[in-house]
């Protein structure tokens, strides 16, 4: 069946900001979908609030709306664009929920918009747990008895307590219609159950929780299923979880293909999967079905299905080379699978099932270090923020590569450090699922645990346990051999050990190991992911390294540029860097280079096999990158290696790569060091006569106090060389400083602590600029809404800067050029300034692509990352202006009447983390970055743009109701005006006694709540927290009282903010944020908010520039 001709325009919904459980995999799928639909000649209309995505690049859709993904905003887009169809199965749960809401409120029917991919009925059948169970029970599959776990749907706590009487403990709770398992978990006793039941009921938009018999410890599998409208169905991939049931699949180590099923069991699972997709009625496209198998009997239970493309679909696509989202988009518009060619073989159709001749391992990336009070036990509620995937010919090889891809020095196995505990103790530690579990398993094996011991303690399948034992045996054999025996060395490499691990085992450095290895000829070869286990030749060079015999890298004529990606997503380094790498690949391919991508993140666009000319799915470590470089070096000319677009990951390899003879293009490794090293950077600033906040370097508490007193409090303290402000704090006195130093165990004379003067009450400014050695192009100047001291990644900001005059911007331009020239930048530079009074301080400079590059690029209609890549390979800014890649005159700060105000807002993961006692982790912003993603609000006025950014990030600001205000003394003066304005806008104001007193003096009518530590009043006055929990408050404004010596913010503030998170109401923690919010509320009250596409904005801007 060919493409449908009865529809011509399609609305695609993206997934919004990156949050835990919904990351850049939906940019990957959405980008593929948009590309396919445009190629097929459809008019594509896109809504996505996330500017850091490739899919929101203006060339991927005909009309790109960076607007909040709420039913109201999507309706406005529909009313304006009148699409024929809506495709919501590629934008995660966010898109699916938006589409369901638009169906429920009649908008789709009113405007005649058809849901393609999965219709409303199918979505409900798949997502409504009770209906899904009925479907499973009613399936007719010869030879199989599909069943679901026994369960009861509950809407109240009482119903839940009744249900547990039948089902017993432990018991599983799953709230309906949530993503990434929000609010779900396993309760082992009544106390746990009561607490989790309340959270779960609150998390579900329909106050519904499924209470289910526990199948913890069972084997867990997933199938990725694809169907077309002629009812052809294929299984794209099977995935087996190493962690047994009980851990969210997003937090599990997973393997493709399934490793421990016989064909009979696999085919039975396949039959059930196919029967489910048919019965649920997903017309076209992909879905994901999860299964559990009882290890002793083989009893199979269907856990759930996602009637849409999922995180696992992205993994399956990368694992097999079968592009699920792309094919899903094609079948959604009418093609059948046999009509779609397999891109990789070119000769064969997509109506087949990929077969693998390698093993793929995915490992989750956690950031518990960012939330030290959070409980790191893994449950059915997803907590990881990213993942790395690795490919090897065997599970041990792929696992070793995956663990080192995480860039966490503690992740790869440690075979040498002293064992501090007994085998029994390690087994006990391994029995609790947590982020370090596999390392504990290895410790237990080192301490003598057998396969049976490990299986009994952890439930991990004995086959995987034995693979781990084999890894240990290979390491031990190499360690014990007299010299670095080539046979044992090869064996160890085949078991996935890195040069660094071998160095530790042999008591030498990884360089020495590498030298010996190369001298002995123990080198990896590169094989190809081809969907068919070599049955047919592959046209796409999608490679992975393995210690095997035959290499498959082809010769090439064109000069190659290697682009090093950014590795697994983590807080502080996410999709924004992938965006820059992808842009470099696109523009350098156009410029005639052969682009070679190296990355290990399966969620990204960069690891799509057709983003670059060649893809190496490899860890971003020195060893692995050098091997890729050598492989490419042996097969054709190399123009250079790009390290400045993928964030810190490639940047920190730059010097070592150069030392190994790898040509780095763009800013040199020496220049990178210059910017990172305080003393040298200070010299650059001094030479340019630019002020920086006073600072000092301390190696002890005494030294730190001395420096702090010299500079004057408050001071900002942090370890040197950090990403995302890790370990940073602002301290206000000697006591707090001593506390910080004492807690910061990572301080050594080699790794001193930086003590900076903290600029109170300053405006922080972020700049992204291009420099070609001669000319500076100021890409954009962003003014932070929160004051200096909040990490730039967590701060909202505005472009153009809302309060800065031309004179300040001119000074910024001059200063930026002086710094870029002084460092020796070739490409991008990001500088953070603070404007205090009339002094422009330089806070820091990063000679690389920053997190804000995509935001600036979209706000100014200029693709900075592409320009940077061209500059790195020798083009001048003047030439790029001539080509139209950069503005011919002026730059990103040129004042234009037609340009939008763009506001970026960070999205925080507070609701994901709880302390072991079950309370929320604190939601305070500070110098350490904690946000997972961002949204953009665009409008001609700041207030409206800000309001849109709030709506996009957490659902929006209230326009009526009660605002609770509690501010630190130092903020009271600044808070009065915006609070008064709120009162004038009709809000009721509530406060604690101290703040209330101040506000009343200004004629504001205030309701008083008691502080939490005071408890309820004798007259029945509630505490603030009680008021919030009772739904009396619609927005909280609370600034922190500074830190106590233990580094934990004062208890009252914490409980207020926790209650706000619990009730899902806005909680603003800075004065500047309050002012912006008031403007946003005012804008929202003052009339109709409109939507406008990037293309419309750009057309006006271009016309004005051409005048």
């Amino acid at each position: 069946m060919p493409r449908r001709t009865d529809i011509s325009s399609i609305l695609v919904i993206g997934s919004g900001p990156i949050v835990i459980g919904q990351a850049c995999e939906f940019d990957y799928s959405g980008t593929q979908a948009c590309r396919v639909l445009r190629e097929e000649g459809f008019r594509v209309v896109l809504v996505n609030s996330n500017p850091a995505t490739i899919m929101t690049d203006p060339e991927f859709a005909d009309a790109t709306y960076i607007e909040p993904i709420t039913p109201e905003f999507v309706e406005r887009v529909i009313a304006k664009e009148r699409p024929d169809a809506i495709l919501a199965t590629l934008g995660g749960q966010t898109a699916l929920n938006a589409a369901v809401a638009l169906h429920d409120n009649g908008v789709l029917e009113r405007y005649g918009v058809e849901m393609i991919g999965a219709n409303f009925e199918a979505i409900h059948k798949g997502e409504d747990r009770e209906r899904f169970k009925e479907i499973v029970a009613g399936l007719d599959v010869p030879g199989a008895r599909p069943e679901s776990a026994r369960s009861v749907i509950c809407h109240t706590l009482d119903e839940i307590m009744d249900a547990v009487g039948d089902l017993g403990y432990p018991i599983v709770l799953r709230p309906s219609f949530t993503m990434g398992g929000v609010g779900s978990g396993i309760a082992y006793d009544e106390a746990e159950l009561r607490e989790m039941a309340q959270i779960g009921l609150a998390a579900s938009p329909v106050t519904e929780v499924l209470v289910e018999e526990s199948i913890i410890g069972w084997k867990e599998y997933e199938l990725e299923v694809m169907r077309d409208r002629a009812d052809n169905v294929v299984i794209v991939c099977s995935i087996e979880n190493v962690d047994p049931m009980g851990v969210h699949t997003g937090d599990s180590i997973t393997v493709a293909p399934a490793m421990t099923l016989t064909d009979r069991e696999y085919q039975q699972m396949r039959d059930v999967g196919i029967a489910i997709i048919r019965e649920v009625g997903v017309d076209t496209g992909g879905c994901n079905i999860q299964f559990a198998i009882e290890p002793e009997t083989g009893r199979m239970i269907v856990i759930e299905m996602n009637p849409r493309v999922s995180r696992s679909s992205a993994l399956a696509s990368k694992a097999t080379g079968f592009p699920i989202a792309k094919i899903a988009a094609k079948v959604a518009v009418g093609y059948t699978l046999d009509e779609i060619p397999n891109d990789i073989t070119r000769e064969t159709p997509a109506s087949f099932e990929p077969t693998l001749d390698y093993v793929v391992v995915k490992v989750p990336r956690f950031t518990f270090e960012k939330f030290p009070t959070a409980d790191d036990t893994l449950t059915t509620h997803m907590k990881s923020v990213g993942e790395a995937m690795a490919i090897g010919r065997t599970f041990p090889e792929a696992l070793g590569k995956a663990l080192r891809s995480l860039e966490d020095p503690r992740a790869p196995f440690d075979f040498t450090s002293e064992l501090r505990h007994s085998r029994e103790e390690y087994l006990r530690q391994a029995s609790r699922p947590h982020d370090r579990r596999l390392n504990k398993v290895m410790d237990a094996i080192r301490a003598g645990a057998s396969v049976a011991d490990v299986h009994e303690a952890t439930g991990i399948d004995p086959w995987f346990c034995d693979q781990l034992v084999q890894i240990f045996q290979a390491a031990r054999a190499l360690q014990e051999s007299y010299n670095m025996d080539p046979v044992l060395l090869r064996r160890a490499k085949r078991m996935g050990l890195s040069d660094a691990q071998i160095g530790t085992l042999r008591n030498t450095s990884d360089e020495v190991v590498r030298g010996v290895r190369w001298a002995l000829g123990v080198n990896p070869v590169f094989k190809t992911v081809d969907t068919c286990a070599a049955e047919f030749a592959a046209a796409t060079p999608y490679h992975y390294s393995t210690y095997d015999e035959e290499d498959e890298v082809a010769r090439r004529e064109k000069p190659a540029v290697l682009i090093l990606g950014s590795g697994p997503n983590r807080i502080g380094q996410g999709i924004e860097f992938d965006y820059s790498c992808v842009h470099a690949a696109m523009t350098l391919r156009e410029a005639g280079y052969e682009t070679v991508m190296v990355n290990c993140n399966p969620e990204t666009v960069s690891t799509d096999y057709d983003t670059s000319d060649r893809l190496y799915f490899e860890p971003l470590t020195l060893e692995d990158v050098l091997e890729v470089y050598h492989a490419e070096f042996d097969h054709g000319p190399i123009a250079g290696v790009i390290v400045q677009l993928g964030g810190q990951t490639p940047l920190k390899l730059a010097a070592a790569l150069k030392a190994n003879g790898v040509p780095i293009v763009g800013t040199s490794p020496e220049a990178i060091d210059l910017a990172e090293e305080r003393g040298a950077f200070g010299d650059v600033l001094a030479a340019a006569e630019l002020p920086a906040p006073k600072y000092g370097m301390a190696q002890s508490a005494e030294q730190a106090i001395e420096i702090a007193n010299g500079i004057g409090y408050p001071v900002l303290v942090r370890p040197s060389y950090v990403l995302g402000g890790r370990g940073m704090e602002i301290v206000y006195d000697d006591e707090a400083l001593t506390g910080y130093i004492n807690r910061a165990t990572f301080i050594t004379p080699q790794q001193p602590v930086l003590v900076d003067r903290f600029l109170d009450d300053a405006i922080e400014i972020d700049v992204d600029a291009l420099f070609d050695g001669t000319e500076l192009y100021l890409g954009g100047v962003m003014e932070h809404i929160e004051e200096a001291g909040i990490h730039s990644g967590d701060s909202a900001c505005s472009l153009p800067p809302i309060t800065l005059g031309k004179e300040v911007i001119d000074r910024i331009r001059v200063s930026t050029e002086a710094i870029a020239r002084g460092i020796g930048v070739l490409g991008l530079i990001n500088i953070q300034y603070a404007l205090q009074g009339d002094v422009l301080y330089v806070l820091e400079a990063n000679p690389r692509a920053s997190r804000t590059v995509p935001f600036v690029s979209k706000a100014t209609d200029t693709q900075l990352a592409k320009a940077a890549a061209r500059i790195m390979l020798g083009q001048s800014i003047a030439a790029l202006r001539g080509d139209g890649m950069l503005r011919r005159h002026g730059d990103g700060t040129t004042s234009l009447d037609s340009a939008p105000v763009a506001v970026k807002e960070a999205v925080m993961p507070w609701n994901r983390f709880r302390t072991p006692e079950g309370v929320s982790v604190d939601s305070l912003l500070g110098p350490e970055m904690k946000s997972t993603g961002e949204v953009m609000g665009l409008d001609s006025l700041f207030g409206t743009a800000f309001a849109k950014s709030q709506t996009g990030s957490y659902g929006g600001l209230p326009t009526t109701g009660t605002a609770f205000v509690s501010v630190a003394n130092r903020d009271k003066r600044h808070a009065i005006f915006p609070v008064k304005r709120l009162a004038d806008l009709g809000f009721r104001i509530a406060a604690t006694a101290g703040t209330a007193q101040v506000l009343r003096r200004h004629g504001i009518d205030v309701t008083v709540y008691r502080k939490e530590h005071q408890g309820p009043g004798a007259d029945g006055t509630k505490t603030v927290v009680q008021g919030i929990l009772d739904g009396e408050i619609d927005i909280v404004f609370n600034t922190p009282q500074g830190s106590s010596a233990e580094g934990s913010p004062r208890r009252d503030g914490w409980s207020i903010r926790s209650a706000a998170i619990y009730m899902d109401i806005p909680c603003i923690t800075t004065v500047q944020g309050l002012s912006a919010a008031v403007q946003g509320i005012e804008a929202a009250k003052n009339g109709e908010v409109t939507v406008r596409s990037l293309q419309e904005w750009a057309a006006d801007v271009r016309a004005e520039l051409a005048e």
């Binding site: 016989t262 004995p462 049955e535």
Partner: protein, 385 residues
């Protein structure tokens, strides 16, 4: 749990390409045609499939043996492959049905197994150069000497192996549930799942030796006749062609699988030819040209029927057309004979009995029942008239 000292093993192809690995089956030497199989599951079924007689199977899936050996999934009474080559053999079994390790079973049945081979390189070699003879040895260390012995082996083209695999005496598989039909199934190397799936549909299956005559068949009063899969070159199977000619002359409904498809093709006047490296996997897309539906199918064939796509050929038994085609390479995957608008016989080149493989094509067994029913009705209608 330290592994015993590995025993080196040598693999030499007839063109001289050599791979080294380690022994994981029986010690000794083995020869056959080197073929690769791309299924990620189902090694137990593959090893016991008689169609692999005199073939050395290379598994493209790298880690093999993980689920051990369970005795339940065997497709015949023994392992038939001449040798088994893998990238990484599992040293333990993990499955609730497993009885012993794969390596132990290979040893017990005297089958040479080699692990540690770059099976992807070997597969690519066979894909580019075509299937060829191979030798495995755990005793020879000189590749040239082993190659001399490889070159002395007979080639697969021209090999008649049916007599080596067929049953000695008839075996009856009773119908499950109510008996609806009697079928004579000629064993050219039949897999156990085939009579199983037939019997589940109420068919009493008489599995007959390949040397049976038309009289042996008609003596059973069958409602239909089935020719199974099997090893070797269909061009040599003149006896089977002669038998099927008699069957069609006797107006008995026919169903054939794999070898049975090739015999059907030859009987209807088409030729057969050897594919460069064959189809061996469980992920192959086949289109039923009548319905345009795609099924994912299990394949194991090195030869194919040379029949025209999209044309009808007239024979003395009726009109023949190609009913199924492999979407990867347009190889004929099924034939259908119709007489007076009714299906008189049909066959497929692939394996609807699966084992190993997907169950998408199980409908063909129902189709056979439908053909037999229609045939009975037609006959009784004829008698009434």
């Amino acid at each position: 749990m330290n592994s015993p000292q590995p025993v080196p093993a040598l693999l030499v192809l007839e063109d001289g390409r050599t791979f080294r690995g380690e022994s994981f089956g029986a010690p000794g030497e083995a020869f056959g045609e080197a073929v690769f199989a791309t299924g990620m599951t189902g090694y137990e079924e593959t090893l016991t499939d008689p169609s692999y007689r005199r073939q050395v199977v290379i598994a493209t899936a790298p880690q093999i043996g993980n689920t051990g050996w369970n005795d339940e999934d065997d497709e015949s009474r023994r392992i038939w492959v001449a040798g088994f080559v893998v990238r990484e053999a599992s040293r333990i079994s993990s499955n609730w049905r497993a009885k012993r390790d794969l390596g132990d079973e290979l040893k017990a049945q005297g089958v040479v197994g080699v692990t540690g081979v770059d099976t992807r390189a070997l597969t690519r070699h066979l894909r580019e150069r075509g299937a060829m003879r191979v030798g495995l040895s755990t005793v020879e260390t000189d590749p040239d000497k082993l190659r001399e012995r490889v070159l002395q082996q007979p080639a697969m083209a021209g090999a008649n192996l049916v007599d080596e695999v067929t049953v000695a005496e008839p075996v009856v598989v009773p119908a499950q549930g109510e008996k609806r039909f009697t079928v004579a199934a000629i064993d050219l190397g039949i897999k156990e799942m085939t009579p199983e799936l037939l019997s589940r549909r109420g068919i009493e299956v008489h599995v007959l030796p390949a040397g049976s005559t038309i009289d042996d068949i008609t003596a059973l009063g069958p409602d239909g006749v089935f020719f199974s899969n099997g090893p070797g070159d269909p061009a040599t199977a003149d006896d089977a062609v002669a038998l099927l000619t008699d069957v069609l002359d006797a107006d008995l409904p026919y169903f054939g699988i794999c070898f049975g498809n090739q015999i059907f093709g030859r009987t209807l006047g088409f030729g057969t030819f050897k594919l460069k490296y064959g189809h061996r996997g469980i992920n192959q897309p086949v289109m039923d040209l009548a319905t345009r539906r795609v099924e994912i199918t299990a394949h194991n064939h090195g030869f194919a029927v040379d029949a025209p796509l999209g044309e009808t050929t007239t024979t003395r038994w009726g009109d023949v057309r190609v009913s199924h085609v492999c979407l990867n390479d347009d190889v004929v995957e099924g034939l259908e004979l119709t007489r007076d608008g009714a299906v008189a016989g049909f066959s497929v080149q692939y394996h609807p009995e699966a084992a190993a493989g997907p169950h998408d094509s199980a409908y063909l067994f129902d189709r056979f029942c439908a053909v037999m029913t229609a045939h009975q009705d037609g006959h009784s209608a004829g008698k009434d008239a």
